[in-house]
């Protein structure tokens, strides 16, 4: 009896020699690492040794799906990309929805390992158990949309026949926060993994639709639990109705909307900039991911203002915040335009926006003259100047070269007052587009302490009650926040092993039922936490081996500053930062002072072999 849900094959592509090979996945490996970030964490640890930098051909990229992708679970077309990324020069795991996670398996593989560097630009095609590395030079310098359209034309396929994830000009140029974008606007955005892809001269990966080629152990049980999950998805949250943009005003109400680079929390225009306004006033068309009836992803056409008629992927919450309040803009159509621009160029909207907001504040303070900014008038809300600057960054042209390194490095180079205005976590991790100094201290702590380079413990709002833990009673309690972060940690990384979307599969207990139905396993919630924590500890030891410093697990001066107005005025997370971190380390089974996993913790998680490496 085998395990359901897996093709049990991994494709290895050596880009230096342009050769591909297939490796079989052992059942013991699958059971221990499950998929997605789990597979990625293990391969990254074993194959990327200390001293290998993010752009070194010896760095690996692991694209991995999980047992639920393509199984019939709604919206399960998700995959993770794991590599050593430029923002932190540590491990990075970023997830994208769309279709690729399912098509990867239908093409014959649970994961792809990319190594080496191609002599010139290439792309990889996978279909029906075959893989081919092809000439990508015709697509050099092309944006994401041009690349997707062009590759479909070259391969003589229609939309829906293939899933394509590519890098844009930013990834080719080595912009530190380059993303990998595909399926018309889904993004693996964190830790500059698009730049790693660019460093390997890999423009895109194309996966054909294919057919299901793996067993589902208990289809009837899966059908029942999947249907139950959809009922939860419909009523559990307003995502179904308003998309993630529906959170915009709620976040404003608790002081979590980033406004003008954290210089204020006042933004009365929020009601004309939220998801509700967009869906009530703009033209909206569903654009669902792989078999997703929740369909929170939409296409939008702007119906008013200077960008009337502009059509693009509907901005998610993070883009609404990034290109609205964070840059002092109150024109919703411009948010649609800028969101499209940053995706088209292949950059992480979060980091791009922190960088642009910082540039605007520096311009306002006279640190950057207009001349310093290549003539661009980077005053708050000047969206056309922002568009022009994004293009300069993607090409690393003029001032764009400095800004292409992200706000941490750019601000450190300028120094002085400019250094105090930059929003980042000291490890180089990019916060999502919130003001975490408001009612999201938990996410601020998670962003600074993460081992994945993005959210590790959180699911956005903290919902410990979903896994039977007591609900949050005080979002500003240092003790409670650090305790809940630690106790919750594991569930999110298990989820990122599965190949699912958390909006379509919001209930962790039903997720687990689906995993057991597909694989034939009998995992408990306790097992789930253990698997997730194994992944976290594997990545944490990797990071320590790659020179992560405990002292860097904290926010920048501005990121950890005290709000001076708005709903969270006067709240100071730094007052008890050290005690929060120590409490968190202790509850995670790490040394309270150094943050290093204790041997006992590693043994309990089946990671004895890592003890010697610490």
């Amino acid at each position: 009896m085998g395990i359901g849900g897996y093709v049990k094959k991994v494709l290895r592509a050596d880009l230096s020699s342009e050769r591909v090979s297939i490796e079989e996945l052992e059942p013991s490996f699958i059971e221990k690492w499950v998929g997605g970030v789990g597979f990625g964490a293990k391969y990254l640890y074993d194959e990327v040794l200390p001293g290998v930098g993010w752009s070194d051909p010896k760095n690996r990229m692991i694209w991995a799906s999980g047992p639920l992708a393509g199984s019939g679970v709604y919206g399960a077309g998700t995959f993770n990309v794991v590599s050593k990324g430029p923002m932190t020069n540590l491990a990075g795991s970023s997830q994208a929805n769309g279709f690729f996670g399912a098509f990867l398996k239908f093409s014959g593989y649970d994961a792809i390992i990319l190594e080496g560097k191609a002599p010139s630009l290439v792309y990889l095609v996978i279909s029906n158990g075959r893989a081919e590395i092809r000439d990508g030079r015709p697509w050099a310098g092309k944006d994401i949309w041009e690349t997707e359209d062009g590759l479909r034309k070259e391969l003589a396929v229609k939309k829906g026949d293939v899933s394509i994830f590519a890098i844009g000009p930013a990834g080719e140029q080595g912009v530190f926060y380059s993303s990998i974008v595909g399926d018309g606007g889904h993004v693996a955005a964190h830790n500059g993994l698009g730049a790693v892809m660019g460093s390997k001269n890999l423009k895109a990966i194309v996966a054909y639709r294919g057919k299901r080629n793996f067993e589902v152990k208990d289809p009837e049980r899966l059908k029942e639990k999947n249907a139950a999950q959809f009922e939860v998805a419909k009523v559990a949250g307003p995502i179904f109705r308003w998309g993630t943009g529906g959170a915009f005003s709620a976040l404003y109400g608790i002081g979590c909307l980033p406004v003008k680079n954290y210089t204020t929390n006042i933004y009365p225009e929020h009601e004309r900039m939220n998801g509700q306004y967009m869906r009530n006033h703009f033209e909206i068309r569903p654009k669902p991911c792989y078999i997703c009836p929740v369909a929170h992803c939409k296409e939008v056409t702007v119906t008013e203002g200077p960008y009337k008629g502009f059509k693009a992927e509907e901005p998610e919450y993070e883009q609404l915040a990034a290109w609205g309040p964070q840059i002092g803009n109150s024109e919703l159509g411009a948010v649609v335009m800028l969101s499209n621009e940053v995706d088209r160029l292949g950059m992480d909207a979060n980091e791009a926006s922190w960088t642009i907001g910082w540039t605007m504040e520096c311009h306002e303070k006279g640190i950057f003259s207009r001349n310093d900014l290549d003539g661009l008038d980077m005053k708050w809300g000047n969206v056309e100047a922002v568009k022009a600057m994004l293009n300069k960054i993607a090409k690393r042209e003029g001032i764009g070269d400095l800004l292409s390194q992200g706000v941490m490095r750019a601000s450190q180079k300028i120094g002085g007052e400019a250094a105090d205005c930059a929003i980042y976590a000291l490890k180089g991790c990019t916060p999502r587009s919130h003001d975490h100094r408001g009612g999201r201290w938990a996410e601020l702590l998670d962003t600074c302490l993460t081992n994945t380079s993005t959210l590790e413990s959180m699911r956005g709002p903290v919902q410990p009650e979903l896994v039977g833990l007591p609900p949050v009673s005080d979002p500003f309690s240092p003790e409670e926040v650090s305790t809940i972060n630690a106790k919750l940690n594991g569930i999110g990384q298990f989820e990122d092993c599965l190949g699912i979307c958390r909006f379509a599969s919001p209930d962790p207990k039903l997720q687990l039922e689906c995993v057991n139905a597909v694989t034939g396993w009998s995992l408990s919630l306790e097992d789930v936490f253990s698997i997730g924590r194994r992944v976290i500890n594997q990545l944490r030891v990797f990071n320590f081996r790659h020179e992560m410093k405990k002292e860097d697990e904290k926010p920048s001066k501005r990121y950890g500053s005290i709000p001076t107005d708005g709903p969270a005025i006067g709240k100071n997370i730094m007052n008890k930062w050290e005690s929060m971190v120590e409490n968190y380390y202790t509850l995670m089974g790490w040394d309270a002072k150094t943050g290093r996993p204790l041997p006992k913790t590693l043994r309990e998680l089946g990671l004895e072999e890592l003890i010697k490496d610490l």
């Binding site: 307003p238 529906g246 709620a250 009601e271 709002p461």
Partner: protein
Amino acid sequence: MNRVTIELWLWLGEELKGDFESRSEMCSAREEVIEEGISIGDLLIRLADRYHPIAQKLFDKRGKEIHPNFVVTYNDRVISPQIVFKQVLKDGDKITIIPMYTGG
């Protein structure tokens, strides 16, 4: 007697049209006249007794606890659920109930 304002954000006020005035696409509100010494929690219980949708959405099954998916602000400042029953209302105060959101 004191006059205080209750705001319900996003979809919370949808089923209470007629009782709550729609102030914008995402905010419904009403003014309440209350006695001296009434806390925020006391007022919310009073509203829950009167309006079934509030009882259903805002309070969990255990009763006098605000469901963890909601945040309460008092005069536009986030307050801890722990002090909802301790904070006594004054004339002109504003209470806002904001639903939290998975995603975003």
